[in-house]
Every structure is written in C-alpha cells, then in structure tokens.
Symmetry: C2
Subunit: 449 residues, 2 copies
C-alpha cells in the first residue's frame, strides 16, 4: 500500500471537509494501515480521521499506534470518547497503553473505566514490567474434560465475542486448574460425541505470570505454540499469550540487545519519533564512561614516553595493533551475546566454547601477524617486524578471550550479557593491547632504548 499516495488523495477531502468521503476511502483498510496513514497526516487532521472510524475499528487502529501517538490522540478527546475507546481495547492492549503513559494519565484513564475492566486492568498492571503478566490477556476460552466436543464447540461459539483468540482451547478442572491446551483443530476433526478428556494428552506447556517475557518467547518458539497458557502459583489458568504479542516481544528484545551491543542504552522507542534529548541521554552515559576507561590507555602510553621518543616508528603501528584486538573481541562478543540470547549456548557450555575460541583466536592471530610482519619489515626493519607480529598475535588472542568471557561472566552475575557492548569490549581490549604492545616492544628492543 502506498501510504503517501493515499495521504495525497485525502488532503483535498479534508480541506473540503468532505468527511463522508474520507471515511469511505479508509474504512475498508486493515487497521494497521489506517494507523500508518494517521501518522502521515498533519497533527490537526489525525483526530478527525480517528473520530470518523466506527468504534470497534477505532480501538483496533489505536492499538497499533505508539504510546506517544496514542497519548497525542487522547489529549484531543473528551472523557466520554476516551472511556469508549479504552473500554474497547483488548485487555493486553490496554495494559500496553497504561504502562507506557505517565502515571497520572494512567490513573485518569483507569478511573474512566467501568469497575470490572478497572479491576482487571489494575491486576494486569500489578505484574512486574517485562513479565508475562503484562503481556497476557484474560480473554481465553476454557472447557471441562467431561464435556463433549459438540458442547465445547457450542461454548466456543457463545464465547466468541469475549475471546481474543480461539486457536487454542484450554481444559481446566472445577478449580480452574489448567489440565491441557488443545488446538481448535482437535475439536473440528473430532467426533462430536467424544469427551474432551479423551482428546487430552499428558503434556501441556505453561508459564507463570511472573516469569520474564523472554521465557515466553523461548517456549512459543521452541514448541511452535499458537497460544501459551499463563498460570498462577497454584496452577490455575489466569490468561493466555497470543503469538502476535510473542513476535512483537521477540522483535523488541532483539532490538534491545542490538542497542546494548552497540553501546547505546535501550531506546524503547521508535528511532523515527525519538526526541533529540532522549537520543542524547541514551548515548552520553556510555560515551563518557568509555572516555574514562580509555584514559587508562593514555596513562600506559605516558609511562612509555621514553620508549616512544627512542623509537618513534612504534607509534605508527599503535592504532593497527590495538584496533585489531578490539575487532577480534567485538567478533567473539557478538557471537556469544547472540548465542546466549537465542538459547543456542548455555552458561554451562563455557568451557568447551572457551577451548574452541582459544584455538580459533590463535589461528586468527597467526594469520593477521603474518600480514603485518611484512609491513613492519618494510617500515621499520626486522626487529620492528617481530614486535608488531608478536603483538598482533597476542592482542587477537587476548581480545577474543575478553570478548568471549565477558558475556559469560555477566550472565553468571545475573547481568545482561549484552552489556558487553562492542565499544566496551573495544575499549578494554585497547588498554590490554597498548600494554601488550609496549611490553613486547621494550623487551625486544631493549638495546635501542
């Protein structure tokens, strides 16, 4: 869909206040596309288009907007309009809205809700940030093991308005405890007189509402689930997580890891919409911290000033040597951070990975050393050639070790391995590289100093 073109077509209709035509033009579009169109309109036109939408549609479109844009629309709405809109959201979309808004705005919106929805929303907001509880919807369909398939299908039909999804039907006992999760397919293909209990198998994958949402992503991906049941500490079914939310979380988590590895704080925001002050705040911390780390490198160089004065050509190879160590470290760290995030590698695998990494980095070090040996010979003679080549081997090895072990160490300390960002690894590897370089240089060139 070419959004720009449609916006161009809408412009004269807006200017001529031809509301009916605006509505006819957009009402058949998927909600996601209407949301995109709204973003491309002038701020003043947004609310008009939004108010032209039929009510359930408006709620759906609203759920696809970012928190900032949602807030913008709400500010142009009356309390009555707000109440209708927020009541029309599904419980998980409502939680998503509330948790992004400033506390006062959330409070105001909560008070506009009918008592039942208000209680539900407060309960969902009671779960920790980034937990499964914040992600789930209590609108699932559950049947009993002693029901027949035909009675279950009747129940499913009667609950269809309430349920967000019917792809998975849950089986609970009279205490509400989760017994099984059955795909709708099982009900459709089964004989109508079969008892639900006979369709059940012994395994059901479930998750606690207090678990980290990343765990939910892992389970859905591993077992190819179309719905993940959420239970409380007693095993009572309290909600379900739908695959579309899982995909959004998986994307958000990958983005977070990306940003952390790049040495940026987590943006939690569209880069397109992010304000300059936010971008500054997310970047300045690491940048300044790294400056202080890099000062150690400067201090080491200062202590070797005599060496530099005696053999100035050494400085020529300094950036080469330290950068290569940082690059090798960034490579290992990236591989490790991602493998830990996808579950490809577990912390207990560290020893075998360490052995592999050691061998790989020695091979890489030898290759790189061979490449610079010739350059060293040409620029500074045979002794410089050996200093540079040996230093290269050492920094590639040490850099790789830092890059590999730091993410593991962080995981061990229950910190996020992605904190081992490329800039951090580079800076640490640089300090090590500077030290290694001058130690090797002073030992091999002792007679020249």
């Amino acid at each position: 869909m070419d959004y720009e073109e449609i916006v161009e077509q809408l412009r004269p209709l807006f200017e001529g206040r031809r509301w009916k035509e605006v509505r006819e033009k957009v009402e058949d579009f998927p909600a996601q596309d209407i949301a995109e169109l709204i973003l491309r309109l002038d701020k003043s036109q947004r609310i008009f288009l939004f108010k032209l939408l039929p009510r359930p549609r408006a709620a759906e479109v609203f759920s696809y907007l970012s928190a900032e844009n949602q807030d913008g629309l709400l500010q142009d709405m009356t309390d009555h309009e707000t109440r209708e809109l927020v009541a029309g959201l599904t419980p998980d979309d409502r939680t998503a809205l509330f948790q992004e808004l400033p506390a006062e705005a959330t409070q105001r919106l909560l008070e506009l809700l009918p008592p039942g929805a208000q209680r539900e929303a407060r309960a969902l907001l009671g779960y920790p940030a980034e937990s499964v509880g914040r992600l789930m919807t209590p609108d699932y369909i559950a049947v009993r093991p002693d029901w027949t398939v035909s009675r279950s299908l009747q129940h499913i039909r009667s609950q269809r308005e309430k349920a967000e999804t019917i792809n998975v039907i849950y089986v609970t006992d009279h205490d509400g405890k989760l017994l099984d999760a059955l795909t709708i397919r099982r009900f459709i293909v089964a004989d109508p007189d079969t008892q639900v209990g006979d369709l059940m198998d012994t395994h059901v994958t479930k998750i606690s509402a207090f678990e980290d949402r990343e765990k939910a992503v892992e389970l859905v991906q591993r077992y190819d689930l179309t719905g993940l049941p959420v239970v409380d500490t007693e095993g009572v079914l309290i909600g379900t997580v739908t695959p579309d939310d899982i995909m959004d979380v998986a994307e958000a988590e990958a983005t977070e890891d990306f940003q952390k590895v790049g040495g940026v704080g987590v943006l939690n925001f569209s880069l397109r919409d992010a304000r300059i002050s936010l971008l500054y705040k997310r970047r300045v911390g690491w940048l300044v911290l790294l400056v202080f780390i890099n000062m150690f490198g400067g201090a080491i160089i200062a202590s070797y000033e005599a060496t530099i004065e005696a053999v100035v050509v050494l400085v020529t190879f300094l950036p080469l040597v330290v950068d290569t160590g940082g690059n090798a470290g960034t490579q290992s760290a990236t591989l490790m951070v991602r493998a830990l995030a996808t579950g490809d590698v577990k912390t207990r695998d560290w020893l075998s990975l360490w052995g592999k990494e050691a061998l790989v980095s020695v091979a890489l070090g030898v290759t790189v050393a061979a490449a610079v040996w010739l350059l060293g010979l040409y620029r500074g003679g045979i002794e410089i050639a050996w200093v540079v080549a040996l230093a290269m081997m050492a920094v590639v090895f040490v850099g790789s070790m830092i890059g590999m072990l730091l993410p593991f160490g962080l995981t061990r300390l229950r910190l996020d391995p992605a904190t081992a960002s490329a800039p951090l690894i580079t800076s640490i590897a640089d300090i090590a590289g500077i030290l290694i370089y001058f130690v090797i240089a002073t030992s091999l060139l002792g007679h020249m100093l």
Copy 2:
C-alpha cells in the same frame, strides 16, 4: 525439562539394551524435547533412540534437528528407512533439509522419494535461496466462495491429514486464483448455511513465492497473520507460510544482522556445533581487511612523526580521541542498522534523521570535550587541553556522521546496511580521528614544532 537428568536415566537403559524401556521413557515427550535429548546422547546411541520412535514421530523429531545432525542420522540409515523418513516430513521441512545438504546427498534423497513428492520437492527447491518459495508448504486447505460453511467444514475435516495447518482457510475461484483468506474462527462461529462468499471481505494480504523471506516476516508481523498465502505471478494460490516458520526466519535474520554488525560473516550455524575451521573462515576475512584499512591510520601517523617527536604527550591522548570517534560511530550505526531492519526507518527518512543525528552528536561532542579538557590541562597544559577538546568534538561529530550515513548509503546501493559493522565503522572513524587530531594539533601548536 532437565535434559541432563533424563540422559542420565537413559544411560543404563541403553547399556542394558532395554529398548522397550527407553521407548516408553521418551515417547510421550514433545518432539522438540526428544530432538534435544538426541543431541545430548553419544553419537552411537542417537540412531538407536531415533529408530525406536514410531514413524510419524521420528519425522517430526527429525525436523527439529540441525542440518548437520540430520545428515549424521541419515548416514546410519538404510535406503528403505531413509525413504520412509523423508516421505514423512512436511514439504517445507523437506525443502529445509534438502537445501542444507550437499548437492549429491540431496540428489540421492530426491531419487528415493515417490514421483509425486519428488516433483513437489524439485519445484520448491526451484525457488531462489531465502525466498518465500523455499519456506512455504503446498499443504493448505482451500474452499470455493459458492460453498456453504457446513460443506467447507466437511471438506476441512476430510483434508485434515494433508493440511499442515487449518488456522487459515483460503478461498479460491475455479482457476485456483486466491480470493480471500479466512480464519477458521469465521467458519466455526458462522451459521452452517451461510455461503463462504458472504464471509469474505475485500482485503487479502498475499505474497509472491519469489519475494525475499524477510518481506514475509514483515507482513505477518504487521498484520498479525496466522497464515500467509503465497501466489504465483497469475495470482494462483500455490502455498502457505505458517507463523512458526516466520518466527524462525525472524530469529535467523536478527542473528544474521547481529553477526554482520559484529564484523563476523553470517554463521548460518549453531555456535555450539560450529567447527573451528568454519569459525575461522567467517572471522578471518573481516579481520584481515580491517588490518589493511587500519594501515592508512598508521601511514597518517608516520607523516606526522616530526610533530610527535616535538610534542610526545600528544600520543598519550591518541587512543582516547580515536576510540571515542569509533564509539560514537558504532552507536549511530547500530541504531540505524536495526531501525532499517525492523522497518522503523525508511531510506527516504535520511534527511530528517541526518539533522537529528547532527544535533545529537554536537551535544555529545561538547559533553565529551568538556570531560577531557581538564585532563588535557593537567597532563599537558592549556594548549594541549584545547587540542584534545576540539579534536574530541570533531571526532564525535564525524564518527556519528559516518555511522549514520554508511548504513543508508549501503541500502541505497542495494547492499545490506548491516555490512556497516561496528569494527568497520570503528576503523574508518579511527582514520578520520587520527587525521583530525593531527591537523588540529599542528595548527594550534605550530609555534612549538
């Protein structure tokens, strides 16, 4: 599930050749868990456990193994066993297996298949690598618009063995052209006498088999689809992509981007299983290339040897200045690469993002400059302080610009923006940083040289 514990329990059963007990122990586990267990067994035990599984189960378990492990199992099987196993795979899992195996092995397996499955497999392998065609399954269910809901449900029941999923039912005309995609929910809640045509709406999201699989991920995520129909150039329905495959692709694509940004070639392989030679190959190219790029930095330093000899303290600040530029560049590049990958930012947004980036980087540069001015004053006096502070401002700005514009430029040239890896950005920013530093130093300190 604690795999290690179960493996421990299985060990004595294997040693005592108590096959029946082994089978009873594992047969109720989900296929994904059996696949994990197989990986943790000794190579010699793997094939035994695998052959103990009932046939459809074995095919399912097999589909969750990596290509290398699949190949390992196949080598221990007779032609007859292989034929049964491969025929039992779903068409999309079969394509996944064939495309990873060496060409001869694929050829041999294809010849073992019955003619119909062989033709189907060859057709799917005919689509380009990483295309939607390689991902889709032709096992979908389609109904006609003039059928009633009850006739459709009957058809769905009769096709259930064949279809991989029934969450989405497709509507096609008598030429096989795709008219609509309806969720199974619509059929369940509708009156049995309703015509399918009356359930249809005007919008259907579809994709060509030749499209890049990333496009399929984008569509499924955007429209929260439970199935994506695949059509040929005539609009004829030829397959469907299921959400579990989409999630796997999304994860694989994020991993690829991660590895590229880390300056590693795409591994396309589990880090845990990857051989040392593969890891070496994937890393050595970039590492050596970056050495050559870094040599320019060395050459610039060499041309300023006289300056360094006159003011040795300048070298102390060299790593600090160049690293900070690289860090700022890595930050911008990471933000851009990920935003381009998730579709948050489009190439046409570059100008507004450039303006924002310029302002952010000036603010960052001033902050960082203030921090090092004092250090410069303490270590080298007022003139050095100004050289270092000005150089810092300039390198943060230039580094950020390189980090931001390179991914955009690569996209413009239809190259992958993730090629702008952290090590590449760091190395380019370093060369710029060295030049900036010495140009500023020689202009400000001219009287000292």
